[in-house]
């Protein structure tokens, strides 16, 4: 198992480097550079502009600039935001906990819905429950997240007035009241993201369980006299979970993308909305750093998926 993890790590690191190289090359290929504005400012004489360009190494070959950027990032020097006037790593650290909370809770909600519904639907295929679940799942992942978010805001905040629709990180309350306020404001974004994911997971769990439930060892377990619950939980679900776990981990990049939209609608101060504000404000250091963070998260989750997959299915880790 240890060797398996080591092998996966060795594959993950070049992927991260490859992604960061692609990001950097994209940025380098784009027309314009940070000194474009200076060039149009007539107060600065051209010799000074030249000197600045040489000093910052803007015209050096791409690979040298890439390595300089990489070394800086690894040292923790992530740059200085043009728009917010603070160090980029501080900005990101402020906002990451919120995003992780929303994304994590939505995944837990999605799995909590998808696993029972998917398993139950697969146990009784083509029954009424199965058909309703299937149709609801289709409707669920055809509704774009921004539309569901707007609908929920319309119903719950505007018409009924039950839930606040602006997310505040600094709620002025203590104890249970604080938790209640936090829960009330988090429930809409988490359910928007969670229900969307639950729809696609339900279909996947259902087809994974259907694949397993016809196999011979399940029939053997039943004929041994085990009660149905034990058969399902100990044999079917454990084996059906394997592709599901892979899917969940591979979907994480898409979930973070969905979180970007949800943060925009509900005005949650997370790194998704940071990316959008930075793009609209042309704030390049923040954009590079946030995209790099997303890439790191993706690689980390792929790695975790591989490790969990290796743990759940012993056949994999012996290869």
């Amino acid at each position: 198992m240890g060797k398996y993890i080591l092998r996966r790590l060795i594959i993950a690191l070049p992927s991260l480097l490859g992604i960061s190289l692609i990001l950097f090359v994209l940025l380098a290929l784009a027309p314009g550079d940070p000194f474009g504005e200076l060039a149009s400012n007539s107060n600065i004489p051209p010799e000074v502009q030249e000197a600045l360009r040489v000093k910052f190494g803007i015209d050096d070959p791409i690979l040298i600039r890439y390595f300089r950027w990489l070394v800086a990032m690894l040292h923790g020097d992530w740059g200085f935001s043009f728009a917010s006037r603070i160090d980029v790593d501080q900005l990101i650290l402020q906002r990451i906990p919120t995003t992780l909370f929303v994304v994590g809770s939505s995944q837990i909600l999605a799995l909590a819905i998808a696993l029972p519904v998917g398993v139950y639907a697969a146990m009784r295929p083509y029954s009424i429950f199965d058909q309703i679940a299937n149709t609801l799942a289709f409707i669920g992942f055809s509704l774009p997240t921004f539309f569901t978010g707007l609908l929920l805001i319309l119903i719950f905040s505007v018409n009924l007035g039950w839930l606040p629709f602006v997310y505040r990180v600094d709620i002025s309350a203590t104890g249970w009241h604080w938790y209640w306020e936090y829960f009330k404001q988090a429930i809409m974004p988490v359910s928007v993201l969670g229900l969307f994911q639950a729809a696609s997971y339900t279909r996947y769990v259902r087809s994974a369980v259907l694949d397993v439930i016809r196999l011979d060892y399940v029939t053997t377990a039943r004929s041994k006299g085990l009660n149905e619950r034990k058969v399902i939980v100990k044999h079917v679900v454990r084996n059906a979970l394997i592709p599901v776990v892979t899917l969940v981990a591979l979907q994480m990049p898409a979930v973070f993308g969905g979180a970007i939209i949800t943060e925009q609608i509900f005005r949650i101060p997370g790194i998704g909305s940071l990316l959008i504000t930075a793009i609209l404000a042309n704030d390049t250091p923040v954009i590079m750093a946030v995209t790099f963070v997303f890439a790191c998260l993706v690689v980390a989750f792929n790695l975790m998926a591989d490790i969990i997959y290796g743990w759940l299915d012993p056949r994999i880790s012996y290869r």
Binding site: S142, P144, L150, L154, A254, G257, I261
Partner: protein, 275 residues
């Protein structure tokens, strides 16, 4: 359900293609006396905050949304099939390299990179091809670039299983060159899953384009794509809900129909059925 969806999708496509010829209200006729009007006979879908008729805007925007969806799918399928075919027919290092590139692209975070590329290259393409054409090309290319990987994997898997079959061996014994083998024998038999992936790609591309417009980073603001309509509508939710509901409902209906069609196609092409 799939048949009903084909009917719905055809209806939407026809409406979007022929509608502007029948409903001849211009899309940017500003009429402040009819701001945010609810649906009525004069404006079947209501009006927006500038008094522009929403039905006309939605028909026009539908053309663009559907065009982006189908073009992005075409790009993804062509790129994916070519790469999957090359990877599947040649074993060894070419296969390994192409699969490594595919895995690399699969690991890229889609939405952030989409936003990044649009931010970086929007002005450049605008100067090259004009604002609308530039953004259209950019969006189609970028969305296509993120969707070719599953298609490549599917095609490669099909190739790896088909190349061991007897008819391929027979063709090779008759003296067929490798390109002829691929194009005439293996490729036509491997397109089943590709079609299913294609329909899912159309839905994903429409959602991606709407997402971009919703974030304000898609087409120029005066072009009323469905996502843009939602973006404008979200500030007026309490006084004019019909605006958001119609725009979002259109996206939802189209994507739902495409998903049902894809599912029906998959049931058609996959001989397994649960007893």
């Amino acid at each position: 359900m799939a048949v009903a969806s084909v009917v719905i999708l055809t209806a939407v496509t026809l409406a979007v293609l022929l509608g502007p010829l029948i409903w001849r209200v211009p899309i940017n006729e500003i009429d402040f006396t009819a701001r945010l009007a609810a649906p009525s006979w004069q404006h079947p879908f209501g009006t927006d905050d500038l008094g522009q008729d929403l039905l006309a805007r939605m028909l026009y925007g539908g053309r663009i949304s559907l065009a982006v969806g189908f073009s992005a799918m075409a790009v993804a399928i062509v790129a994916g099939t070519v790469i999957g075919a090359i990877s599947g027919i040649s074993r060894g290092s070419i296969d390994a390299v192409l699969m490594w590139i595919t895995d690399l692209f699969l690991a890229l975070p889609q939405l952030p990179l989409l936003l990044l590329v649009i931010y970086l290259f929007r002005d450049f393409l605008k100067n090259l091809v004009g604002p609308e054409g530039g953004v259209f090309i950019l969006i189609v290319l970028v969305i296509g670039c993120f969707r070719w990987m599953p298609v490549a994997r599917l095609v490669r898997a099909q190739f790896l299983s088909l190349r061991e079959k007897e008819f391929v061996e027979a063709a090779r014994a008759l003296g067929a060159t490798t390109p002829r083998l691929v194009i005439r024998h293996i490729l036509p038999n491997s397109l089943g899953p590709v079609i299913v992936a294609g329909t899912i790609d159309v839905a994903a591309a429409i959602i991606a384009e709407s997402t971009l417009s919703f974030l304000g980073l898609g087409f120029p603001p005066d072009i009323p794509t469905w996502g843009r309509l939602l973006f404008d509508a979200k500030d007026y939710l309490d006084i004019a809900p019909h605006w958001a509901l119609f725009a979002g409902g259109a996206i939802f209906l189209t994507v739902l129909a495409i998903n049902f069609i894809g599912d029906g196609l998959r049931d058609l092409l996959d001989p397994r059925k649960v007893m």
